[in-house]
């Protein structure tokens, strides 16, 4: 089956189509859902592959356990639910039954951070990356558009071991072409500048970061823009090189700064004795709430304007 080429699709459609391509090639690929098949966009997989799509009902912990058992049998299970449940409710199951057992379970947490919008604070994961980063050897990825979903899901499939995918479900403007190649542990350099390094993560933030880079340019500030994509492992070489070049780094994430990308990058720089002025765009020790995306991006100071202000304040120091 040909690879997905039409990228004017929702990110969940990219997720499902890629899984369908993989499943057509490999009978080991199975999909699990906990009554969110419609939300995750995997209904077409069920229509095409029948019993290889397993809806366990509203039972996320059970879903991760079942996925682990399927992995014992040599299947490659892709299990999805909202990120809040993927990380918080199934944490011990994913930790012990999947990761400690060194199995091959791919867990997808949808609606990252503020993209949970009207579902509000109960459904708004600002802590999933933080929790997942504590699991040894786990791969953590967050794509930023449909093409990167396709590429990263294929990398998850190839990787022998557990992965966590932080998946924005809706459409997001294309950043990459359909033939772009993605790798675990590799970020993408989207713009090379010499004043400040902006490291973004995920669909919502990469749009803000790209917009911020444009605004800064109008003010004569030349930003480097990195799409992190792989939170664990981080792209050490690219991040260290660009941090060294500019000496000013702003991490931008739709997640708590503590435990998230900001802390991961800070630790990397500290470990390598790269001393930078650091700024953090992200959620600062707060719970989620309801609102539309625009409202929430502003409420948590995640906007392009916030990124610009942070960058400029660091450059003045």
């Amino acid at each position: 089956m040909a690879e997905v080429k039409d990228m004017d699709i929702e990110m969940r459609q990219a997720y499902c189509r890629t899984l369908m391509e993989l499943a057509a090639e490999d009978p080991r690929v199975v999909v699990l859902e906990a009554d969110l098949m419609k939300a995750s966009g995997t209904m077409p997989f069920k229509d095409a592959f029948g019993k290889r799509a397993i809806d366990v009902g509203v039972a996320e912990a059970d879903m991760v356990g079942i996925a682990s058992g399927l992995s014992v049998q040599g299947f490659i299970p892709f299990a999805a639910t909202f990120g809040c449940f993927a990380a918080r409710r199934t944490f011990d199951q994913f930790f012990i039954s999947s990761n400690y057992a060194k199995l091959n379970v791919k867990l997808t947490g949808t609606d990252p951070g503020v993209s949970a919008v009207y579902n509000g604070g109960t459904h708004m994961p600002f802590e999933d990356i933080g929790l997942m980063r504590m699991i040894p050897d786990l791969v953590i990825l967050e794509p930023s558009d449909a093409a990167s979903v396709c590429g990263l899901v294929r990398e998850m499939y190839k990787h022998q071991g557990c992965c966590y995918l932080r998946l924005h479900r809706k459409k997001s403007p294309a950043i990459y072409g359909p033939d772009e190649k993605f790798e675990i542990g590799k970020a993408k350099l989207l713009k090379d500048g010499n004043d400040v390094t902006l490291i973004g993560l995920g669909a919502v933030m990469m749009q803000e970061v790209l917009k911020a880079a444009g605004l800064l340019e109008k003010e004569g500030i030349n930003a480097t823009v990195i799409d992190a994509l792989s939170v664990k492992p981080l792209d050490r070489d690219l991040i260290l090189a660009k941090a060294r070049e500019t000496g000013v780094v702003v991490t931008c994430e739709n997640h708590q700064v503590d435990g998230g990308l900001g802390m991961a990058v800070t630790k990397l720089l500290a470990d390598e004795n790269v001393f930078c002025r650091m700024g953090y765009i992200g959620v600062q020790d707060r719970f989620g709430q309801v609102g539309n995306l625009d409202y929430l991006v502003k409420a948590y100071n995640l906007s392009a304007d916030d990124i610009c202000a942070k960058a400029k304040s660091l450059l003045k120091k």
């Binding site: 912990a61 399927l70 014992v72 040599g74 199951q93 400690y100």
Partner: protein
């Protein structure tokens, strides 16, 4: 194996299990000794296509010991079946051992699933059984859960799933020894009517004396004749069975036992593997 041979195997397994824990001086004695006969039955004919030379043989029946703290009982049986050298039994829980307290599929040949965080094993067993259905290879999955463990809600999520998907290749055994860490199961949070509960969840339910091979055979044989439903065999057992000081005692869950005590019990007959 006939009944006498099974009894002899179980006696040897119990002895090896006790010396395994006794050589360290502490361990989960109670819940290991309560499943010795169940494991003896499973590993001497009930589970098919087991191969100690190839522990991950594709078409083997699998076992998830969800009450992972019963590791030493399983280690005794696996060692006797040749999955690893008997001498390993003298390494329980020592740094760098291949035999940790709780079952670990990456450490011990013959262990199909890592367990220890109670309540998780039955879901994994469902995944294994569902996978066997997808493969259409006739594999069965066995799972042993504890009675106290039954209090974990995830079991009941798995119970619903197994029945909804008609996983008749999933055979679960409840080690109903009536005791848990903080007291009797009845005192802590009683699980009765446990037969009715599993039946209500759509399971095919049997009851057996978990130390009686004839009763076990009757229950397993009857279970195999039923299609379309997952099977639950509730085994009445005695926690600490065969170690008189702890038999039927609440304190038997994780207890100190000395090597001298075990030697005295076996009148100085020490297994050859014990240095």
């Amino acid at each position: 194996m006939n009944e006498n041979e099974l009894k002899a195997f179980a006696a040897e397994a119990r002895k090896n299990c006790l010396f395994c824990i006794g050589s360290l001086g502490v361990g989960h004695v109670g819940g290991a000794l309560s499943i010795i006969e169940i494991l003896t039955y499973l590993y001497n004919g009930e589970m098919r296509n087991l191969d100690p030379k190839n522990p991950r043989r594709e078409d083997r029946d699998m076992l998830v010991v969800s009450k992972g703290h019963s590791g030493p009982a399983l280690y005794a049986v696996l060692a006797m079946q040749g999955f690893f050298p008997m001498e390993w039994l003298d390494t329980l829980n020592r740094g760098g051992t291949r035999l940790p307290s709780h079952c670990d599929r990456n450490q011990t040949p013959g262990i199909d699933m890592s367990t220890g965080s109670l309540g998780q094993g039955l879901s994994a067993a469902c995944g294994i059984a569902y996978g066997a259905k997808l493969k259409e290879n006739g594999q069965r999955c066995y799972c042993i859960i504890g009675d106290g463990e039954t209090q974990e809600g995830q079991n009941w999520e798995a119970a619903m799933f197994a029945a909804a998907k008609g996983l008749d290749n999933l055979i679960t055994i409840t080690d109903y020894n009536k005791l848990q860490i903080d007291g009797t199961v009845e005192q802590v949070v009683g699980i009765e009517d446990i037969e009715a509960k599993w039946k209500a969840f759509g399971w095919d339910v049997y009851r057996a004396d978990g130390h009686d091979f004839k009763a076990l055979e009757k229950a397993f044989d009857a279970a195999h004749k039923v299609d379309g439903k997952p099977k639950m065999i509730i085994c009445d057992t005695i926690k600490g069975k065969g170690f008189p000081r702890l038999e039927g005692q609440v304190g038997s869950h994780n207890a100190n036992i000395t090597l001298d005590e075990v030697k005295e019990l076996y009148k100085g007959e020490v297994p050859a593997w014990l240095k």
